[in-house]
Amino acid sequence: MSAENSPIKPSISQNNIQPVADFENQDALIKHVDITIVESEQRANGTLHIRDHYTVYLIDVKVTDPEYKQLQTMINRIWRRYTEFEQIHDYLQVTYPHVVIPPLPEKRIIYAWRKCDTTDPEFIERRRAGLENFLLRVASHPQLCFDDQFINFLQQEHDWRETITDSGYILQAENKLKSLSVSIRLQKPDPEIDGVKSYGKQLEANLGNFLYTRSKIIEKNYALCKLHANYGKLFSEWSVIEKEMGDGLQKAGHYFDSIAVSIESIAEDEEQLADQLKEYLFYAAALQHVCANHEALQRNLENANDTLTNRIAERGRAATGNSGLMARIFGTTEPDIVRDQNTRALDAKIVADTRALEKARTDLEEFRKKACIEIEYFQRQKDKDLHESLVNFIALQVKAAKKNLQAWTQIKECLQNMP
């Protein structure tokens, strides 16, 4: 991570932890550039098989701040595909373990309620929006946005993949994965971090349930509204054979058709809301990641502590010449010189261990401080966003109910006006 990319030379050094309040006052890339994902395209891998086609997205970066000289060109356009987004995301996750990394949109479709494929134009459009969102979020984060690799991601045309792989993040990621997969049992788990972790799990569960039931509802509602199209057809046909009732039936038929049509836009809108909620579903996972990282550090600390304690005990035993099995059975067997040697060696090791312990402790504390700020910031953001999403959900329901009510009132009127 280099702060050189920021035009504002940091009086804020990496280690100076800003209070949360100033978080937003820090500089971020977003203040100097505009990032959008303009369009998407299908590319083929050389073969003509449909499965070897993949979609690329065009990232458009415009520098809006004339003073900002860090980016190479004022306007930059670059094509990236989803896997490359994944790469930068994983890299960020490994490089900034204390930050709640913004998530990518879903790789595979979850909570689908109608047959959908990753090659559907609708899905591609939603993914485009999600990826744009991802970029904007990263660009707004004061630390993430000035990362070299991220800047490269936005600019570097050729061989970006090599560049990012060279950073060695994959190895780090694998290591981390290994260490995380070992279930961590701490002696003294940090209650706060634990709280955050369980909150993250809860949030994941709740959002998951909500998304699931929502998908069921929209599925049934959709089918129901489509049924109205049949009504429309029936009424139209019926109006042909009736003399006096014909007009009324015909008009009513039109309204039925309108109901069937109206559900499409509502479904689309709701899908966008669902995407927002899915983002937070993944965010919850990222939050748990941060907690897990903290736990890993804490375990390191505890291990270091244990090592030191053992070493001291060992040294104690060595000093009295009681190390070794023979000594325990027969009493002191070693000559003094050997004993002294051993003791001094162990002393040196103890010093090293103590230093390691101190380092682990400071690491942990630093991490904790930084993480807590990040978490707090995340919580605020999440609260606001989720509340907004939920309110919009309600608003959408109101809109749908109004539409239906309107249509049916009209239908009733038509029927009433029949002779």
């Binding site: 309040a21 349930n209 836009s265 700020i373 707090e376 907004e388 239908i411 009733k412």
Partner: protein
């Protein structure tokens, strides 16, 4: 009670109908049509209750009502009886009698036999094999009861059938004597009916080849056929509609549970939003939970009735063909033809307007119900909207555990008094806007803030407004101006700008 103790049947009330009967809704929007369909007398052991009063409609001197189904055990079998009440100016009838389905069948047969030229209103269908298992299910019995009611009503209002002796006997005969009275005459009539049927059929069959198309009745025949089709389709669709509604109602209940669970685990605004959604779901579910039954009875009957007319027309056509074939060009067959034609004409002239009225009534009922459903849902959701968007300034963020907030805030975040006035709110917002919610894709308004313009627009937008305005700058946090309309047809209605962000600064 008219009952004597001949076979001392046991009175076992069927399961109370009230909960299942047609369109029981508490919504005030429903009109009074629903009064007819609720069966209020079921479940009583004694027959004494009057039930809804029987009133003759204008222009008619007779009114019949069938309701009050009841299970009856006799030595040989168990069956359901229905209470038939009648008031008539032409004859003296007991307050009510009890009839079972077979009795209705008998009446139908006798009417068919005695009035061969008239299409008799159809009966509700017999059990299918599958339904045998379901014979006493409340909904099935209720539907049948409604159908029988319609059956009797049609007969009573029919200009010819109302004077039929069979009808009179049917309504007047006390229960114990009924079998004797109807059965004894039946055997004689049976033969007669049988023979006349054979007689009639013989004529028709011999002239299958020559199809004489009489324009007057062809149109009617086509109409009947189409009408039958339409009514059947309507019934099927309505079935699906209500089934779908009920299942949707279940899903809403599911979401309500989810939101309740979520709301209880989280605090602050999100909790209120969850609670609001939960309430909205509850009312949406309630609106759709009941499915009416009346249409199930009536629509198939009307379809069958149209079919009956179709059959009569065909019979008449057969007569006509026979006549035109010339083999039996006697006066007699000509008379028969004329009779049939006349009967048909008057029948159709009477039937079509009546049926039209009935269809219209039913469609209106359907529409009313839907209007009620959506009104109730709308009210629920609007209330939810209000509930979730009300600012609650005294509410702290409680998403992280309290201890965490307290641990964090004192040293690092100087907390401002939460009851901040608008000024400090807007200054807060100024700070927070930089990294606010990034939803550029959802904004299709091109007047989105440029980075430099965030602040002024915000305060303007935070006006509380109950109406649905187009989404303006709710997503005003981002300074990403998204000039492109990504998807122009997605008009996100921004409900309330009511939520002033309360943020710790």
């Amino acid at each position: 009670m008219i009952r004597s103790n001949t076979n001392a049947p046991l009175y076992l009330p069927v399961i109370p109908f009230k909960s299942k009967m047609a369109s029981e809704s508490s919504s005030a929007v429903l009109d009074l049509n629903d009064v007819d369909t609720t069966d209020t007398e079921v479940g009583s052991v004694t027959d004494d209750r009057e039930g809804s009063p029987l009133i003759m409609e204008t222009g008619y001197d007779i009114a019949i009502k069938v309701d009050g189904p009841m299970k009856q055990l006799s030595t040989l079998e168990t069956y359901v009886t229905y209470r038939v009440r009648c008031v008539c100016a032409r004859w003296q009838s007991p307050p009510f009698v009890r009839r079972r389905y077979n009795h209705f069948k008998l009446l139908h047969k006798r009417l068919c036999a005695s009035q061969p030229l008239v299409a008799i209103p159809p009966l509700p269908p017999l059990h299918s094999a599958r339904q045998q298992l379901d014979r006493y299910s409340p909904s099935f019995v209720a539907v049948r009861s409604l159908a029988l009611d319609a059956f009797m009503e049609r007969i009573a209002k029919h200009p010819i059938l109302t004077h039929s002796n069979d009808l009179r006997l049917f309504v007047i005969t006390p229960d114990e004597e009924f079998d004797k009275v109807f059965k004894s005459e039946n055997s004689a009539l049976n033969l007669w009916g049988l023979s006349s049927a054979l007689y009639g059929n013989g004529e028709a069959k011999s002239n299958n080849g020559a199809r004489v198309k009489d324009p007057e009745f062809t149109a009617a025949a086509d109409y009947m056929k189409s009408l039958q089709q339409k009514l059947t389709t309507l019934c099927t669709l309505t079935n699906k509609l209500y089934d779908g509604s009920v299942s949707l109602s279940n899903e809403y209940t599911g979401m309500r549970r989810v939101c309740d669970a979520w709301g209880s685990q989280v605090g602050g605004r999100s909790s209120r939003a969850c609670g609001a959604i939960s309430a909205g779901c509850a009312s949406a579910a309630a609106a759709r939970s009941k499915a009416p039954l009346k249409y199930k009875a009536i629509l198939p009957l009307l379809a069958a009735y149209a079919n009956a007319h179709l059959e009569k027309i065909k019979t008449r056509d057969a007569l006509h063909a026979a006549y035109c074939a010339g083999n039996n060009a006697t006066d007699e067959s000509h008379n028969r033809l004329e009779q049939a034609s006349e009967a048909l004409r008057s029948e159709l002239a009477d039937w079509i307007p009546k049926t039209r009225e009935e269809i219209k009534t039913h469609l209106l009922e359907l529409a009313d119900r839907q209007v009620a459903i959506h009104t109730q849902s709308l009210m629920g959701w609007e209330a939810a909207l209000k509930l979730s968007s009300d600012t609650d300034i005294s509410e702290l963020f409680k998403t992280v555990s309290k201890t965490a907030v307290q641990n964090l805030s004192p040293s690092k975040c100087p907390m401002t008094d939460v009851d901040s006035d608008i000024d400090s709110d807007s200054t807060d917002r100024k700070g927070s806007k930089e990294n606010g919610r990034i939803k550029a894709d959802l904004n299709d308004n091109s007047d989105l803030n440029d980075k430099n313009d965030t602040h002024t627009n915000e305060t303007a937008d935070e006006k509380t407004d109950d109406e649905m305005t187009d989404r303006s700058n709710v997503k005003d946090n981002n300074e990403i101006s998204n000039d492109r309309d990504i998807s122009n047809d997605i008009k996100f209605v921004d409900p309330l700008q009511n939520f002033t962000d309360v943020e710790l600064s």
